[in-house]
Amino acid sequence: MYAQMVDTGAKRLRPLEELSPEERAFQERIDADIRIEPKDWMPEAYRQTLIRQISQHAHSEIVGMLPEGNWITRAPTLKRKAILMAKVQDEAGHGLYLYSAAETLGVSRDQLVADLHAGKAKYSSIFNYPTLTWADIGAIGWLVDGAAIMNQIPLCRCSFGPYARAMIRVCKEESFHQRQGFDIMLTLCRGNEAQKAMAQDALNRWWWPSLMMFGPPDADSVHSAQSAQWKIKILSNDELRQRFVDQTVPQADYLGITMPDPVLRWNDERAHYDFGPIDWEELYAVVRGNGPCNRDRMRTRLKAWAEGEWVREAALAYAAKQAARDAKAAKAA
């Protein structure tokens, strides 16, 4: 997902009776659906896992601005351009909500950003794919934001208060993103043959990477089991992926374009769509840094950070100067 394959540090799931009294009280609060707040006692592994998960989520929002930013200057109309700018601005806001949630766990935002820049922290695999045509902006909103919503709605109920509250804000805004994406696809699909072909091409390229966003099957993963016990992961990767497929295929049917999956068909018995195998080697390659755009994304982030340095410094210097001036005036008065 926006946070993929998060390490919990767990080797196996420990039953309640093996937990220390503090850990046990903590787990019982979670089991009773009582939210954990920043100043509450929490196991160090819970804290560290959440820092990894929330920061990865935040980094994804920020890096996710890049593929879309690519089309701001080339949007087909002024209206589309204004809408896309609003969407990219939202992504920056989402990154900020999430960094703030992570900071309540006792880590600084500068440290989180430094971890991203050093390659220590990850962001979602999906943002390492290029946006080659305008239709890709439609496909991202429709599929990528659609997949994100699928994951984020259950997280509104997660055990950590600041994360759950950030997710509620994000979900409210994300719905606009998905609809604007579908609207772009719909307009293209009702256009001429070339426009419809462009929409189909975007779907062909974004469909499998969107399914990979949910991460590899995790029914047997100890990390997923631990995250589920802590209620910072509510549904399994495969459950979320299946829901996404079931929701999205009828939308493609409406658009009159088809998923690039010859095996895809409705299964009456399961009451779900069956779909073809996912190339997990591709996901692992992207996560390891070998996707089409990994290096370019990091270069762009590093450049933006370095070139913004003087602004951050100047703003601080100005604030210090103003504060000194105010103090002097107060003394004189």
Partner: protein
């Protein structure tokens, strides 16, 4: 990190409906003026508010999670503070 980080601010917004300012989140800014500008951009992009307060996070004093019982438990036994504590005869109206 050789430079100091911009301080953290807590943001409170009064919505259109005349309710009290409500905490909506936090952000980093070098000073109060910039905190308000940033809060405008981050927290009121969809007409969420008509007024913004910004407070340095460091200036907030909070109750400790461990103090929940001594602070809030005494209210539990005082149910007579709620109007529903007093059953009213059906024949009595407007009360």
């Amino acid at each position: 990190m050789d430079r100091s980080e911009w301080p953290l601010w807590e943001i409170f917004i009064r919505s259109q409906h005349g309710l009290a300012h409500k905490h909506v989140g936090s952000l980093h800014a070098p000073d109060a003026e910039m905190a308000i500008k940033n809060a405008r951009d981050v927290y009121t992009r969809r007409n969420e508010g008509v007024s913004i307060w910004v407070v340095p996070s460091a200036a907030i004093t909070a109750t400790a999670p461990g103090a929940k019982e001594p602070l809030f438990e005494p209210a539990n036994s005082k149910v007579y503070r709620h109007p529903t504590f007093f059953p009213m005869p059906d024949a009595v109206k407007h009360i």
